[in-house]
């Protein structure tokens, strides 16, 4: 009989914090200058949220779909899975998220955001802004080189946070719920991983999930 109750998350931890953070440095260098491109795209998306053009729903959905497909393939499958075999099982979920975005673009009007900035859009905008601009700077805050910054569209955490932000900017409904599932699962897994690695960054996905929960509970039903 295996005493499953005696296992802790740390028993499943396969790598050290150094190895984990180095992944981002290696990935940025390997795909350079793509991180610059995705960062600029992220800033453009952020600009859209304040005054979204009527045609932006579909391009937004396709852009995010592309980001999820790329992060799942390039980061999870190619870079992360060699040190954490569990990442190989998670990568298909990233593909699924990409498909959800494509479906939303094909079957509906894409990610439609409110045309005027209102107070209820604040949590979504904050998360999107944080993911694009501030999250990469956590590397510096933690004393790591900026070359290892986690950039939206390259690294999974800021991509998931930006997606949650985008979903919160959308009107409540099935599409929003669908878009929230995979990012929330990823952020939960990321929190467990980072806290097991004993790094304070683990509290970031927890804070994001908390804010998301509060926001969706306060949103009026569809």
């Amino acid at each position: 009989m295996t005493d499953w109750w005696s296992y802790r998350p740390s028993d499943f931890l396969l790598f050290s914090p150094t190895t984990y953070w180095r992944l981002f440095e290696l990935e940025n260098a390997a795909v350079w200058p793509l991180p610059l491109v995705t960062l600029l795209a992220g800033l453009a998306v952020l600009g859209f949220t304040f005054r979204p053009p009527t045609w932006s729903g579909r391009p937004l959905a396709l852009l995010f779909g592309l980001a999820w497909a790329w992060v799942g393939w390039s980061f999870l499958w190619q870079r992360y899975a060699p040190i954490n075999w569990a990442a190989g099982y998670v990568a298909p979920l990233f593909a699924l998220q990409a498909l959800i975005f494509v479906w939303i673009a094909a079957a509906g009007a894409g990610c439609r955001l409110g045309t005027r900035f209102t107070l209820s859009a604040l949590p979504g905008s904050l998360l999107l802004g944080y993911a694009v601009i501030l999250h990469p700077l956590t590397a510096l805050l933690a004393g790591r080189p900026l070359a290892g910054a986690e950039i939206v569209g390259i690294a999974p955490d800021p991509t998931a946070i930006a997606t949650v932000g985008l979903a919160l900017l959308m009107p409540p409904g099935v599409e929003r719920w669908l878009l929230l599932i995979v990012p929330s699962l990823w952020l939960s897994a990321s929190a467990v991983t980072l806290l097991t690695l004993s790094t304070w960054e683990g509290w970031i996905p927890i804070a994001v999930l908390g804010l998301t929960l509060l926001t969706v509970r306060r949103s009026p039903a569809a």
Binding site: D3, S6, L14, S16, T19, R22, P82, I83
Partner: protein, 305 residues
Amino acid sequence: MKVDRRQLLLGALGLAAVRPRSEGAHAQTAHEVLRRIPSTGQAIPAIGLGSWITFNVGDDPLLRGASAEVIAAFVEEGGGMIDCSPMYGSSQGTIGYGLQRLGYPSSVFSAEKVWTNATGDGPGQIAETLDEWGVRRFDLLQVHNLVAWEGHLETLFAMKAEGKLGYVGVTTSHGRRHDLLERIMQRYPIDFIQLTYNVLDRDPEARLLPLAQERGIGVIVNRPFQGGALTRRLRNERLPAFAGDLGAESWAQVILKHLLSHPAVTVVIPATTQVAHLRENKRAAHGSLPDPTLRDRIVEEIRSL
């Protein structure tokens, strides 16, 4: 890979030279103490090298290079057992890389594991593991965490009978499944067991270590530092005076000497990412080892901190 002749000679010297130096401590040679594998009498350095977490660095060239340096220092210090498992991510490939850079030194004793629920997948997994290391034969294969142990043991005994494997073993850790381990030790002609044993986790002392001695089974000790928690906890604590009598320069060495002084222990396999720690750990097997009274004092001292 086999321990070479020079080491066999050192082993003979080391084993012959055990005599008390001062009260509470047993003196040994200036060289690392070598142990005998009970089932064959083959000599093996008492301090081996683990690879869980520390060598799982993927294809990061910087960290791979650093791991290769640790392996090179290990070989320079006399080599011995390097322990790995298919469970450890890319660690197998890292070890293969390190060994290739050194031209596959004969002083390395390769210890691997089979870790799959399906017995039928065992041989395929072993073949992949051989590829990762870049070797044709393992010195030791162990059933990892007793997963599907009956079927895998059959495979391993057959490989050993055909000369495709040196030794057969089983592993556990964190004090898990000791009852089953005991039953296997009683019934099967295994060469090694691997288990967790350290100053704070001393369960094996009651039954498993005496049984290993009685049955002539080698003992590999994992998690000597509780995965690093123990050395971290003791980092700022002053070394007790008796450390000097033992020739121990650090808590890590006191902990390793405590383990090495148990007569049933064959090899201790601390893992490290640092060349300095590797050398420090290797040095723990030089000089004196504590006698039973001092062993108890070490445990009391660390428990009280």
